[in-house]
Symmetry: C2
Subunit: 336 residues, 2 copies
């Protein structure tokens, strides 16, 4: 059942509240950790981390920990912030690779401060995040966290391998987005569960929930790349197509297309992928029901993720379960 | 007292033996950890890690652990390899920043596989190294390791700030090389001590030894950049000068030069730093005793490092102390 308008409003308030806490944790951690460091390093890290954002990963860590119930609340905010550190490290390095001019509505770190600053600041964030995870959540959490990081790298390689390759399957796509996106979201939930001293059933449930809403999130994101409102998302529509990224709408369309449609798709993907080609591809996708299919797949993943939460049956767990439920709907319904 | 020829030969055999073990540990860890990963990622990591090298950091971890005496020898090789992972991650990212064509006598990863592969493989190595340290040596070791990583980033920023700046002091130079080089070498010793369950005195002694031979190593390296034999080092002489790096020979010369010498140095540093300028600068340095001064400073650091080992007085510790002593002399006397 979809959340009511009141529930959604409550969720937005929780997201905003959590984001403010996450910013505060990061700001004070940076100030303490960077004492005596180079001022430009501090400036770059503050710029990279404190430019807004919904801070969904720290929120997932916090809610997961509270749901399991035994963690130290003082440490939890800092632990949660470690996920924002790692996520930001990934964005810094991605923006170097993609020569991205902008990020979150302003200049990216690489365009503002240069390649060296972006790579090095990402490395600093890696180290700080892993230290925090190991110190605050223990060796099992560190293993989860480092495996998620290594998985993101592997996902990037898998994706690079298949640029503009029309033979890519849905299974390959799911493997890529599982590693590139869902792994870290799942790790955010799992590390929260470990910090909250959840039992093995709770850990498995939250790990699965995170994995599934991560997949749902990324499928929705890949849909927005074809259907989004550029004004709302702040991202250029058709970016994935232009880069030859084989996302689900395209994979579905290729699997269904025949005759002239198929020829047109193949020609468009393997050509120079200009925006006129994207318009044609979008039309073919629409005719073949690719957007509807993707939407359904995202909803299926979300439903599996929500079903995993059924092990949390205690009355005092229901408030946090409700937040996770609303969050799952939110990541699927967002338009930016 | 300098090691005898026989002692040096014994050290070389130990270095070669350790390097073979480190390669074997890395090879089997990569094979196990990368099962199911993208083949190109595996290829890049194997290329980056298994191209030879003296593996001095893993050797320091192994000897430090054995000196303290209680660690698990099975795990020690893998733990030691984590330092080669982190060191290699740093080289991969450095080579992207410096647009370096070659590394260890063959094409660098960035020139062989491209920027994305070099940055991402470095990130993978970061994550794997931190996981290994946390799992095999505990939270205190992880803190030391992550602080060393963050310190290397800070050192890079400190160094970038002072390119071609003739007002840089020896104290600033020492702060830069302490963070950029000595920190990781010191961490290699400290993590070995922690794995070997050394007491706090032993930990402090090995940490200091590592820091001091790290400084000694880097001062010697910076001397080689002016005085080295290009054939032996495989590196272009005058590289640091061309890049405007303010290393100790230059800082010393600037502090001593007067009149025409001083004017010539300033003009050379702030000009286009072509190789003819480097020849002039080298002549001035020679006249001012800068090379002799640097050599003395490197020897002083080494002596302080060796003095720290005096707490290891047991008979069964002397074999490993002797290796550390020979290693200290080696890093200072090497010509490559």
């Amino acid at each position: 059942m979809k959340p009511s308008a009141a529930e959604t409003a409550a969720l937005f308030a929780q997201i905003a509240d959590n984001a403010a806490h996450a910013e505060e944790s990061m700001r004070s951690d940076l100030a303490a950790t960077l004492r005596g460091s180079d001022p430009l390093l501090a400036e770059v890290l503050n710029y990279a981390l404190l430019g807004g954002g919904k801070r969904l990963r720290p929120l997932l860590t916090a809610i997961s920990s509270r749901l399991c119930g035994k963690g130290d609340r003082q440490q939890l905010r800092l632990l949660a912030a470690a996920f924002e550190y790692l996520h930001t490290a990934t964005l810094l390095h991605d923006d170097v690779l993609d020569h991205a001019e902008n990020r979150r509505g302003r200049k990216s770190v690489v365009s503002q401060y240069g390649t060296a600053a972006a790579i090095l600041a990402g490395d600093w964030l890696h180290a700080r995040s892993m230290h925090l995870i190991g110190a605050l959540a223990g060796p099992q959490a560190l293993e989860v966290f480092c495996a998620a990081t290594a998985g993101m790298v592997d996902g990037e390689f898998l994706q690079m391998r298949c640029v503009a390759d029309p033979t890519v399957t849905e299974a390959h796509y799911l493997a890529v987005i599982s590693k590139k996106t869902a792994g870290l979201i799942s790790a955010a939930c799992a590390v929260g569960a470990l910090h909250g001293q959840g039992n093995s059933e709770q850990l498995a449930a939250l790990t699965l929930y995170g994995e599934k809403i991560g997949l749902s999130f990324q499928i929705a994101d890949d849909l927005l790349d074809y259907l989004g409102d550029e004004q709302a998302t702040g991202k250029k529509v058709g970016n994935d197509f232009a880069e030859g990224k084989m996302t689900l709408p395209l994979i579905h369309a290729l699997s269904r297309a025949e005759g002239q449609d198929k020829a047109e798709l193949l020609h468009s993907i393997q050509g120079d992928r200009h925006s006129a080609a994207c318009v044609i591809v979008r039309q073919v996708m629409n005719n073949l029901g690719s957007f509807i299919y993707c939407r359904q797949r995202a909803e299926e993943e979300m439903a599996t993720g929500l079903a995993a939460l059924s092990c949390f049956t205690e009355d005092n767990q229901q408030e946090n379960v409700a937040i996770l439920r609303r969050l799952a709907h939110y990541v699927l319904s967002r338009d930016r």
